[in-house]
């Protein structure tokens, strides 16, 4: 991989989704993708900001973009689709001169936001490609049947995110196939998990996340792969709440796609934060260990 990439972790990745950050960094290191943290980065504003004021929200995101551009970077990646949406929304809104002017007043500096922003998934798929990724995989994910859950933001809003088929994305499915796993025919790939409604209306999240879990179980998957910290939290941390709400027990582990990729790349489980989950990840490791033992790898 050529020029270094500005890396915007996003707040969740320092707390509830630490394992997403850990595994992203570990994978990128192994893959030779150099990540340079955006200096002195701050929150992208997330839902509370854009629900309050568009210009304030854009200023928060723009500040981070400007900090990244100050380092001379022309490419930025973030693991979190919600952060990416905030950054891209700021970029697109600032194309309007009037809006840009308001943001510049708030920022106290020019808001020329020409840096290219992408998700980690997109960067890995586009800059490295499936073949290169598969080549670096030293341990196959054979035995895993992965339901890939993209969430609502990875491909939407369509015009802004411009990533894959908005209703039927396949990037993660193709990745896991390349890494030796099976892709489960999972129907609710881009359904909403309930997102931040967990705070004001918990039942909404339990209903929606419950459906996603049930569909993943129905697809015969033995692991659910995600790319969004909020999705992961709703499906993993709220598991007992969901079970209480739906009356259905489920032990399906919910892993970040970077954790699964890391396992294939031969990284140790501690480096991937596999112990940080609420729903145990042991079943996944057990399956893989059996595979690896029989194939004499790992």
């Amino acid at each position: 991989m050529s020029a270094a990439l500005a890396y915007y972790p996003g707040c969740s990745q320092t707390a509830s989704a630490r394992e997403y950050d850990l595994s992203t960094r570990a994978c990128c290191q192994t893959l030779g993708v150099e990540l340079n943290d955006v200096p002195d980065w701050t929150c992208c504003g997330s839902t509370p900001a854009h629900a309050t004021d568009h210009a304030l929200a854009a200023a928060l995101a723009a500040r981070n973009l400007a900090q990244a551009m100050d380092t001379g970077a022309s490419n930025l990646a973030t693991p979190c689709p919600s952060c990416l949406l905030a950054l891209r929304t700021a970029q697109s809104r600032c194309e309007n001169e009037g809006f840009k002017g308001r943001v510049e007043v708030l920022l106290g500096r020019p808001a020329t936001l020409s840096i290219r922003t992408r998700s980690i998934l997109q960067v890995l798929m586009e800059d490295l490609g499936l073949e290169a990724l598969a080549e670096k995989a030293v341990r196959p994910l054979k035995g895993l049947r992965v339901a890939s859950y993209y969430g609502c933001l990875m491909t939407r809003p369509v015009g802004l995110m411009a990533f894959e088929d908005p209703d039927n994305p396949t990037a993660m499915d193709r990745l896991f196939l390349a890494l030796g796993a099976e892709a489960a025919p999972f129907a609710l790939k881009t359904e909403c998990c309930g997102a931040a409604l967990g705070v004001p209306r918990k039942e909404a999240v339990l209903e929606l996340s419950g459906r996603i879990l049930a569909a993943a179980e129905e697809s015969g998957a033995n692991v659910l792969a995600v790319a969004c910290p909020l999705c992961q939290m709703n499906l993993d941390l709220r598991r007992e709440q969901i079970e209480g709400y739906t009356g259905q027990r489920s032990t399906l582990p919910v892993l970040y796609f970077t954790q699964l990729l890391g396992l294939a790349l031969g990284l140790p489980e501690e480096a991937l934060g596999l112990g940080l989950h609420n729903v145990g990840t042991r079943p996944v490791l057990d399956i893989l260990r059996r595979t690896w033992a029989s194939e004499d790898v790992g």
Binding site: D165, P166, D167, N168, P185, A187, L188, E191, A215, E218
Partner: protein, 660 residues
């Protein structure tokens, strides 16, 4: 010159925001104006009479009417001045309604602008010259393109009226979509039973010549005298010999050919006749599935054909016909179902288009009229219909309503119950459009008598669940989300223009809208005419419409053709380009820019090259006049002097005075 100016109030349409009396008073002062008055309705009978009297009494030889758009009444007033003995081109119109009173609120400014427009008209009129039309003979044969129900109706009416009629149909049979339908709303009568006799009439009519499996390669000429080249596509069967016995299809070993007549539900043989009532009932070979063409073996059909009609060497052939008028009736096509991934279109076999569903219901369809899920052949116990799929959807750049889907969806829900009485039917809709005669009653029947569950709301996704399909959407009447389980999902996919419509429009020199539907000349007053004289429209090619409307439009187009052909000779419009041979240097730039091919190259007596306008072909668009660097070509009635008179006045007056 003695000019009269008439400023129309159009009731309050103009007078509401323009001081018409002030405009008339101002006009009184314009050069060569001898009379200027305002009038409540210039187009009314008393209004026109006043113009005629003024011409006679004041000895006017030029008239300006300031009123609505020329598209509305130019022809009316030209006839008025003609009745008073003036040449019809000694008349000018100033549009002070669409260009002034309807778009501006400030009465003072409006009056100012209206006065300017009247002045411009006067300035131009001072340079007008009487023009006279030439006449030419009409070839009283008509070409009908597309033989769906609209084209069939137009052809039969023309032929019954005694006209020789050429019908060109792209597929191997006439009938269009109607031939594919099972039953039709609102009477639920068998579609092909009503259409079939008309198809037979078409085939047997003495006056009709049918070219099936054919397309328009080229069309040249002008109203009354078109030359058309028709490409007859190779069918690899000599239709002069083929008796339609069907033996070839029985024996053909290639049984996986795509069945286009059945909308790709099921398969057919490489040589086939699309359906039992096909007209012409002739076999044709699909070369992309035929073993002879693919693998250079087989030839079974050639062996079994009792009349030796198979001809693997056959080539496309171009034939020429001359006609005086054209009726375009190429209908519509449904949008590609694969565009609707959110509903599983193209992803799940049990998600089908409405037209596929018609074939699945039809007794002559691939399942013999037994309703079966394409995935595993089981009988559906729940069918969900989704309406407005790709219609009224701005996210797809398709704001249009497809018009007939609400009705056929209700019909299909009713038919579903008569095939499988214990099958649940659900319709997701935005709102129901059923304005025709007996239509709303029909929707009611579907809801009440046939217990169709109508859910008002959009579907967000269709996904597989427990071996069936879950249809999730909003129920906006209950204000909740809802999920319905289905065995089969039918998408009322929006109607777009027929494939290849844009190409055809270019060949015919007619316009089309953003969706590819052909444009009528006027949305209210000229619905079957196009802006190209002698070319008429019928049926869904002009915009989605149901069978009754398509048939009515087919007859209307035939009526227009017959009215046109009721004259032995036609008058050409004298507002055409004219070459001043002395100035023309023969560069022929105009010949290359003319979109209508109305300019020809001629040799002058001294052997030099000159451009010449074919008056009957010229449409008066004026493109050539701006192309000609030597100002040798000018448009009659829009000469340089006339346009400059307008511009000169306008620029000078604006330099001298400006509005308040």
């Amino acid at each position: 010159m003695r000019i009269g100016v008439f400023v129309c109030h159009c009731g309050t349409n103009i007078a509401g925001t323009v001081d018409c009396a002030a405009v008339a008073a101002a006009a009184q002062q314009f050069p060569e104006v001898v009379l200027a008055v305002d009038t409540p309705y210039a187009c009314s009978e008393p209004g026109q009479r006043a113009i005629i009297e003024a011409i006679e009494q004041k000895g006017l030889n030029g008239v300006v009417v300031a009123s609505c758009t020329p598209r509305m009444h130019e022809a009316t007033f030209r006839r008025t001045v003609e009745r008073a003995g003036l040449n019809r081109y000694m008349f000018e119109m100033a549009n002070i309604r669409e260009h002034v009173s309807w778009v501006g609120r400030d009465k003072k400014l409006n009056t100012f602008k209206a006065t300017d427009l009247v002045r411009i008209a006067v300035e131009k009129l001072r340079y007008n010259r009487p023009l006279t039309a030439k006449s030419f003979a009409v070839n009283k044969r008509v070409l009908v393109i597309g033989a769906g129900v609209a084209g069939i109706q137009a052809a039969l009416d023309c032929a019954d009226g005694g006209l020789e009629t050429i019908v060109v149909e792209r597929t191997s049979t006439v009938g269009g979509k109607m031939a594919k339908l099972d039953k039709t709303f609102p009477t639920v009568d068998c579609s092909v039973c009503v259409l079939g006799p008309k198809m037979v009439d078409l085939a047997q009519h003495r006056k009709i010549k049918l070219y099936a499996m054919s397309e328009i390669a080229d069309l040249s000429g002008y109203v009354g005298n078109f030359e058309v080249s028709i490409r007859r596509k190779a069918t690899y069967v000599d239709w002069n010999k083929c008796t339609g016995c069907g033996l070839c299809a029985d024996k053909c070993p290639s049984r996986k050919a795509p069945d286009h007549f059945n909308e790709l539900v099921g398969r057919t043989t490489a040589i086939s006749i699309p359906f039992p009532q096909a007209i012409p009932k002739k076999a044709s070979i699909d070369a992309s599935s035929c073993l002879h063409f693919l693998k250079d073996r087989c030839g079974v059909c050639a062996k079994v054909c009792p009349v030796e009609a198979i001809d693997f060497e056959q080539q496309d052939e171009v034939v020429k016909e001359s006609v005086g008028a054209v009726v375009v009736a190429t209908g519509f096509d449904l949008l590609d179902i694969r565009r609707f991934g959110q509903y599983g279109g193209g992803r799940f076999p049990d998600v089908v288009t409405s037209l596929q569903y018609e074939r699945m219901l039809s007794a002559s369809g691939p399942t013999g009229g037994h309703l079966k899920c394409p995935s595993d052949g089981r009988e559906p116990k729940s069918v969900v219909f989704i309406s407005c799929v790709g219609s009224r959807d701005r996210s797809m750049d398709r704001a249009i309503c497809s018009g007939f889907c609400c009705m056929y969806t209700a019909k299909q829900a009713i038919l579903t119950k008569s095939h499988v009485p214990d099958c649940e039917t659900h319709v997701f809709y935005m709102d129901i459009r059923a304005p025709g005669k007996g239509y709303d009653e029909f929707i009611r029947r579907a809801q009440e008598e046939y217990r169709t569950n109508y859910v008002r709301g959009r579907v967000s996704s269709v996904y597989p669940k427990n071996g069936r399909l879950a249809v999730r959407g909003a129920d906006t009447l209950l204000g909740t989300q809802t999920e319905v389980m289905a065995d089969l999902v039918v998408l009322a996919v929006g109607a777009g223009a027929a494939e290849g419509s844009r190409d055809l429009a270019e060949k015919l020199r007619i316009s089309y809208d953003a969706y590819g539907f052909f444009m009528e000349s006027h949305p209210k007053l000229k619905p079957v005419e196009t802006n190209t004289a002698g070319v008429f429209l019928a049926g869904a090619c002009q915009g989605p419409k149901d069978i009754p409307a398509s048939v009515a439009m087919g007859s209307a187009a035939a009526g227009k053709v017959m009215a046109l052909f009721s004259k032995e000779r036609l008058e050409s419009d004298p507002q055409v380009a004219q070459v001043n041979a002395v100035r023309c240097v023969g560069c022929l730039k105009c010949l290359r820019t003319c979109p209508f091919g109305a300019i020809q190259e001629v040799q002058a007596r001294d052997g030099s090259t000159k451009a010449q306008v074919i008056e009957s072909v010229c449409q008066g668009c004026g493109v050539c006049t701006v192309t000609c660097t030597d100002r040798a070509i000018e448009l009659q009635h829009f000469t340089d002097n006339q346009l400059l008179a307008e511009v000169n006045y306008l620029c000078r007056s604006w330099m001298e005075k400006s509005p308040a």
